[in-house]
Symmetry: C2
């Protein structure tokens, strides 16, 4: 028997629901992915490159909350597909600067578009207040995620 304060109990219930909703959302979106050439993690990494500009592998891995070897491989694959480039840094020759190519940017757009098509339509059908709730919740989560 667990004993908790009312507030902690409420927080726990909210955490569970948010967690569960996130799991199901991603599983659902994953499906519209395969149809096209850009998997979830690759799309996400490319997105960071497009919107955050060229970065080192380490930073990219950190942004994606993934270990260096994992990102190293993802980037290698993006490079093979001509979606990103690696270039050595002159001042510190250990680091590799990774950038999205024009092709990468284009494909990213198309990919995220399709991936989020259904969700976007659903969000559009919500009331103004509900949309605002989602937007605020996303912001809160981003903040919590950053906290670690």
């Amino acid at each position: 028997m667990k004993k908790r304060s009312g507030q902690a109990d409420e927080a726990h219930a909210i955490a569970e629901r948010v967690h569960s909703a996130a799991i199901r959302l991603l599983r659902r979106l994953r499906k519209s992915d395969a149809a096209q050439g850009l998997s979830g993690p690759k799309s996400s990494a490319l997105s960071v490159l497009v919107f955050g500009g060229p970065q080192t592998l380490k930073d990219l891995a950190a942004a994606e909350q993934v270990r260096a070897p994992t990102m190293s491989r993802l980037v290698a694959e993006l490079e093979v597909d001509g979606l990103a480039t690696k270039a050595g840094d002159r001042s510190d020759r250990r680091v590799v600067r990774i950038a999205a190519t024009a092709k990468g940017k284009t494909l990213l757009e198309a990919g995220r578009e399709r991936r989020l098509e259904v969700l976007t339509a659903q969000v559009e059908a919500l009331s103004r207040a509900e949309r605002e709730t989602l937007r605020s919740a996303a912001e809160i989560l981003v903040r919590l995620n950053a906290q670690g």
Copy 2:
């Protein structure tokens, strides 16, 4: 160049943010998982069994938005660990009824507890209004997910 109505544009931006927040949240939570014996998908499946009662493999797979072979393996692993049982149905001998064991229920509790510990603490530290926002957002997402 994409052209969109202001409202669709807003919906798209919200969809992106929600998506991104969900990705990062799950990546973060996944880490506190490994420490213990119950991975994300297994924990989730077990949860369905505990809260939804015994089910056929097909229903369980549908609830988890996963294909039958995937669920078949997850259940087999849960069974090996003594967390779930499979029993044939007498009236339709094709189907297998899957149920959580007492051990499974206990472990599920402990698992989700630990998995959500950090998030719960963070949610607890939020303002009342922020907590309410998260709760509402989770509800909205669950509804959208159910729509397909």
